[in-house]
């Protein structure tokens, strides 16, 4: 394992990533909903292996049972957002009967209007964030579009960090061997209170001296 890989593995052990992952996704959709005063917000993660979008988290009045449902990765507005990597805002969507039916089947909710933005990190398109039914204000402003882009950028950075640690943790869980032990020790150390941690550190430093001799 490279030094970077080792660091990521130890970090993964400390973070406890599955719980953090869910919390981050819920936080992203809740903050997005709050920023725009919207009825609902949802996030679709791109599943590279299946080449599908997965409905991962939703904030607002919503049917949580639909979380986990899947959509094609390149059709519909969510697919267009992922492939084109362009944000867009659409109103009056209920005018399009096909869209209304398809969306209702997958997410249990037909929005009148939505903002759809890709979460991009470096070269990769990680997911699509949608903000549904924000209050109607005369003259949608470019500032709102800019705010959406900035928030999406921040969310993408956080998502990328967590996805990295999640992958490292998966690698540890499926055969990290010696490194997995070190990661568990690092996690346990992180949870200790200050006095106990100092003692544990002294013990580990002594062990390090022995190992280096």
């Amino acid at each position: 394992m490279t030094e970077d890989g080792f660091r990521a593995a130890v970090a993964a052990g400390v973070i406890g990533s599955d719980e953090a992952y869910g919390s981050l996704l819920r936080s992203i959709v809740e903050v997005a909903r709050a920023i725009f005063g919207a009825q609902r917000s949802s996030i679709f993660l791109y599943d590279e292996e299946a080449d599908e979008l997965v409905f991962e988290a939703v904030a607002g009045e919503a049917e949580q049972g639909l979380v986990g449902s899947r959509l094609p990765s390149s059709t519909g507005i969510v697919g267009w957002t992922l492939v084109s990597r362009q944000p867009l805002v659409i109103e009056d969507l209920t005018q399009d009967p096909r869209h209304a039916r398809e969306v209702a089947e997958k997410t249990g909710y037909v929005p009148k209007g939505l903002m759809s933005v890709p979460l991009l990190f470096d070269e990769r398109a990680l997911s699509v964030l949608q903000v549904l039914d924000r209050p109607q204000r005369p003259g949608f402003s470019l500032q709102e579009m800019e705010l959406l882009g900035l928030f999406a950028n921040q969310a993408a950075i956080a998502l990328d960090l967590l996805q990295r640690s999640r992958r490292a943790k998966a690698a540890l869980d499926t055969g990290g061997g010696d490194v997995a032990v070190v990661a568990r020790v690092a996690a346990a150390l992180d949870e200790l209170v200050e006095g106990d941690r100092a003692k544990a550190l002294r013990l580990l430093e002594a062990l390090e001296d022995v190992l280096r001799q």
Binding site: R85, L88, V89
Partner: protein, 278 residues
């Protein structure tokens, strides 16, 4: 060698012999001042071929009218992209929206749809490249591309295609990103890159003296055609782009001999912030 043969002989790309100066003498009549009235007044888009590279187009939508061809790019059995007839139409609504904007500005233009969405995200990069390559080979006058890619592995080929389009007199009009990411092809100087302004005027556009975004066109709260024969309102640079494509179509309809370089110069001169409306 006869005079006709002489004129047909291509000039070397790297130099201009003294005896060839007459052969590149331009007969184009430029006015004392290039105004919007000179550039596009009375133009309808007639005889200009426009390609919409997007999610497909709903051809019978009342705001789009007839389209002369519709193809779709997919991944073949051998893993390579193939171009074939589009049997499905618009997979999202976005392409119909773009086509409707162009039709609204240039009612007599010829519209062709190239669908590059719907075959999955995994192959979307090669599909986008194949769609653009096909459009460039067909020699469309204007290619509307409200899409971009962040994959650096495609940047070089996209750059070559954008330059080929430029040299073959195809205007590639591409959406700028309004997010802090590196994406292509809008950043290449051989394309016309478009961001949004918020005015409700479909013919208003601004030259940006601070590139890489070159022009701002109408992109906020735009009424546009959508699938199912519907009309919606939408915002995004991807809707500013077809406005700029429509304006290019009008200018080329009235002045079909303009090269991409000359067209860009005309667009600069008639931009709202340069005084072309006066």
């Amino acid at each position: 060698m006869s005079e006709a043969d002489e004129a047909a002989r291509p000039l070397p790309a790297w130099s201009l012999p003294a005896d060839a100066i007459d052969r590149i003498r331009l007969t184009f009549e430029w006015p004392d001042r290039v105004t919007r009235a000179w550039a596009l007044e009375g133009a309808t888009g007639k005889d200009v071929r426009v390609c919409v590279l997007d999610s497909g187009v709903e051809a019978d939508h009342p705001k789009v009218g007839a389209i002369s061809d519709a193809v779709a790019v997919s991944i073949g059995d051998d893993g390579e992209p193939i171009v074939g007839p589009d049997e499905e139409g618009d997979s999202c609504g976005h392409g119909t929206g773009c086509a409707g904007i162009i039709r609204g500005l240039a009612p007599d233009c010829e519209l062709v749809s190239v669908r590059v969405l719907g075959a999955g995200f995994t192959g979307s990069g090669p599909i986008l490249l194949a769609g653009l390559r096909w459009a460039v080979e067909q020699g469309f006058d204007v290619i509307n591309m409200s899409l971009s890619t962040t994959k650096r592995q495609f940047a070089e080929v996209l750059h070559e295609l954008a330059d080929t389009a430029y040299f073959k007199r195809s205007i590639l009009v591409a959406s700028a990103h309004n997010m802090p990411v590196e994406s292509y092809p809008w950043r290449f100087s051989s394309v016309i890159s478009v961001g949004s302004h918020a005015e409700p005027d479909s013919l208003a556009f601004y030259y940006n003296p601070d590139p890489p975004v070159e022009f701002f066109a109408r992109g906020v709260d735009v009424e546009l055609a959508w699938t199912g024969g519907s009309m919606i309102r939408a915002t995004g640079n991807s809707f500013a782009t077809p406005h700029m494509s429509g304006i290019c179509t009008l200018v080329l309809s009235k002045h079909p001999d303009l090269t991409p370089f000359q067209l860009k110069s005309v667009l600069h001169l008639i931009a709202d912030n340069v005084g072309g409306r006066g």
